[in-house]
């Protein structure tokens, strides 16, 4: 178990991490999700022991490891850049942590070959890392992390520099490879879809603070603030500022959306309403959905589904629909907002009421 107790990181005049508490259990997969510079890497470096927190303590399995140098920590880390020792062969790269640990030759050889087999590196063991493709280089780095058999595995956007399909494959394999070890697995990414595919737990980060931490799907479904909601939307979240009066959300004197049951109890007044792109549709998905009129901007077809960008007043929304729908630009269309999944946020960006799956 890894516990971060009120840790901060201040470097000169810059604060990288605001006071943060986080508890990660053994055998779990934890995703750090946030845009670039939100503090994911800083937090990982603190967990690894590469940096010392300015204040606060870090405990691992109950033991205070705050000042312990990284060499004695038993962590493994893989970076976004493909980091290997350029002067060593792939074999020696993978063997390196075990050589340092003083394992005997036979064990090293066995482990290296095993890891290479898992990561399909066997044909390249005698090659130099820089002569390999990006995917193979990153596999080498991953193999080095595997053989270390560390209790804490940190992956800092390990797939960001890889091809789309390669990313998909490795993303699929990664959790399985490490799952057996019972290690704590921390994975940083900027992409919400990656977090969702990995599952496990997710912490959303913003400007050096963790805004929310919980089971990935829960964070996705019930964001505590507009920021978490936005971080977790791909395509971007649809947002509109409306005033609640009784059973309707109003813009000026027009009712725009009906108030769904799960938002019935929130106080009247101005709030920010948000919903995911797939909750905007061309056909009425449910009896309670609200109809709206919008003007199309452009349609994009992505095989099984289409993204239709529309303008609703001065708001720009994206609709994600199944199937192929190529609607001409600048056409007026009637759309439906599935109000069962609306989210409402107050002026401070905090959620007034999350949307709940049970409402369905």
């Amino acid at each position: 178990m890894l516990e971060l107790n009120g840790i901060t990181k201040v470097d000169g005049a810059d604060t990288h991490i605001h006071p943060t508490n986080l508890i990660l259990e053994r055998g779990t997969l934890n995703v750090l999700l946030g845009p670039t510079l939100s503090g994911k890497t800083s937090l990982m470096r603190l967990m690894a022991g590469l940096d010392k927190p300015t204040s606060g303590t870090i405990r691992f399995d109950g033991k205070d490891v705050t000042g312990v140098p990284v060499q004695q920590r038993g962590v493994a880390m893989v970076y976004q850049q493909f980091i290997n020792y350029p002067a060593f062969t792939v074999y020696e790269n993978i063997a390196s942590p075990m050589r340092i640990a003083g394992k005997d030759k036979a064990t090293i050889d066995r482990e290296v070959r095993k890891a290479a087999e898992i990561l399909k590196l066997t044909p390249y063991l005698d090659r130099m890392p820089l002569s390999l493709s990006g995917g193979q280089q990153q596999r080498t780095a991953l193999a080095r992390a595997i053989v270390k058999n560390a209790a804490l595995v940190l992956l800092d956007e390990p797939l960001a520099n890889l091809d789309y399909k390669l990313r998909e494959e490795l993303r699929e394999e990664l959790p399985k490879i490490f799952a057996a070890s019972g290690a704590i697995f921390v994975y940083a990414t900027t992409e919400p879809s990656e977090a969702l595919l990995l599952g496990g737990n997710t912490a959303t980060l913003s400007h050096g603070s963790i805004t929310q931490f919980g089971k990935t799907i829960d964070v996705y479904r019930n964001p505590v603030d507009l920021f978490s909601a936005r971080t977790f939307a791909d395509p971007p979240l649809n947002v509109i500022g409306l005033t609640k009066k009784g059973s309707g959300f109003f813009s000026g004197s027009d009712t725009v959306l009906a108030v769904p049951p799960h938002l019935a109890d929130i106080p009247d007044g101005f709030c920010t309403i948000a919903f995911q792109p797939h909750h905007l549709s061309l056909h009425r998905p449910h009896a309670t959905a609200s109809a709206v009129q919008a003007r199309t901007i452009i349609s994009e077809i992505a095989g099984s589904e289409s993204f239709i960008h529309v303008a609703f007043g001065e708001h720009r929304w994206v609709m994600l629909v199944h199937g192929i729908h190529d609607i001409d630009a600048d056409t007026d269309v009637g759309l439906f907002v599935d109000t069962r999944h609306l989210m409402a946020f107050g002026a401070d960006g905090r959620a007034i009421a999350g949307y709940s799956q049970k409402a369905a």
Binding site: P35, T36, S133, G134, D163, Y164, K165, L166, E168, T190, E191, S193, L196, L197, G199, I217, Y220, R221, R230, F232, D234, P235, P236, Q276, H278, I297, I298, E300, I301, A302, G303, S304, F307, H309, V318, L320, H322, I324, A329, A360
Partner: protein, 356 residues
């Protein structure tokens, strides 16, 4: 605007050409329509950038000719081909202002200044950098720099074609959505011939009218996003397009029926298959229905990715993926049916059609 003809083009780097595999780009012979939006899609190293550079004139093909509107431009240098190109990493003129950066290609071609001003203002508005017009390009973020590169590609109204080489790599995910749809809108509006290189299927499919899927120096399929999705010509296309990719299951074809691990499905047509060919059935995860009727499967894992669920299951001893809607339920004794119209049959990895 121009129609682009690629006439038996092959290219190899270096000189040794003993085997066909030495070609980084194997034979390409196609005609691309005037005003079309094409995407070159494939994994890195598949030759897509080579092909792009051949079109732009940065690389001269080892063999074959390239024609713009019927005119042979194979030996013309880039400057005289009248094309625009946007590179993967931003290329900007540091010491110029944002405005001058955008005006540069026009001024070099002696476009009258009022026209320059009109075009630049239009583009600068589109890429959302109006507030930065008078600033030096040097201090901008990578995002903004790449927008300038894009803008410089779009600013000329008379180009034969605009080429994009993975232009959104450095752009932040949310901004990608905005820029991509703006590009597409621009294409609809002005009808430029556009060629867009990427390894990201979403980018390729959403941007292009026609997607050119490349693999190992060859064009595997050219088709609309819908064709690539519904009727992939090769199992590679099925795998590469779609996320998760197409399920490919070894199968035995017998006339109009197909048999996999003891299960038999009626195809509704009889595929033409050469004897001895390795046959497979391809079906997209989206076209498998999970329910209480049909063929039994064993579910190994359910990934809830929010708007839908991806079910990983064993079918006929083969792993398959099934996409289930957000609200869809997963029965305890799961069975699957394949949408008959969406089944593709492959012989030696190439799609085979019916006899009709």
């Amino acid at each position: 605007m121009a129609r682009i003809n690629l006439d038996h083009i092959r290219h190899a780097y270096g000189v040794r050409l003993s085997a066909p595999d030495d070609y980084a780009l194997k034979e390409v012979h196609h005609e691309w329509d005037d005003g079309g939006a094409y995407a070159l899609l494939g994994p890195s190293g598949c030759g897509k950038t080579t092909l792009l550079n051949i079109i732009s004139g940065l690389v001269q093909p080892s063999e074959g000719r390239i024609l713009f509107d019927g005119e042979d431009v194979t030996n013309l240098p880039t400057q005289e081909r009248n094309i625009a190109q946007v590179f993967q990493f931003p290329v900007i003129y540091d010491t110029m202002t944002v405005y001058d950066n955008l005006a540069f290609p026009l001024r070099n071609r002696k476009v009258p200044e009022p026209e320059v001003d009109r075009r630049v203002r239009e583009i600068i508005e589109m890429i959302g950098l109006s507030d930065w017009a008078k600033k030096k390009a040097q201090g901008l973020t990578a995002d903004q720099k790449q927008k300038i590169s894009l803008g410089r590609g779009l600013v000329r109204s008379d180009v034969s074609a605009i080429l994009f080489d993975e232009p959104l790599t450095v752009i932040d995910p949310h901004m990608k959505w905005v820029l991509r749809s703006q590009l597409k809108r621009l294409h609809k509006q002005f009808g430029f011939t556009m060629v867009y290189v990427t390894h990201d299927q979403t980018e390729a499919l959403t941007f292009a009218d026609k997607v050119v899927v490349m693999y190992d120096g060859e064009i595997v399929q050219i088709g609309t996003p819908a064709e690539l999705f519904e009727k992939p010509k090769h199992t590679f296309v099925g795998y590469f397009i779609g996320s998760p990719g197409m399920n490919v299951i070894p199968a035995r074809i017998d006339g109009r029926t197909v048999e996999m691990g003891g299960q038999t499905i009626d195809l509704g047509f009889a595929p033409k298959i050469a004897s001895g060919a390795r046959t497979e059935l391809g079906i997209r995860p989206e076209f498998i229905r999970l329910g209480r009727v049909g063929m039994p499967v064993t579910i190994s894992k359910v990934e809830d990715i929010g708007r839908q669920k991806i079910v990983r299951a064993q079918f006929a001893d083969k792993p398959i993926a099934i996409v289930v809607h957000e609200d869809g339920e997963i029965p305890s004794e799961p069975r699957v049916t394949f949408d008959q119209a969406s089944i593709n049959i492959y012989a030696d990895s190439w799609r085979v059609g019916g006899e009709a």
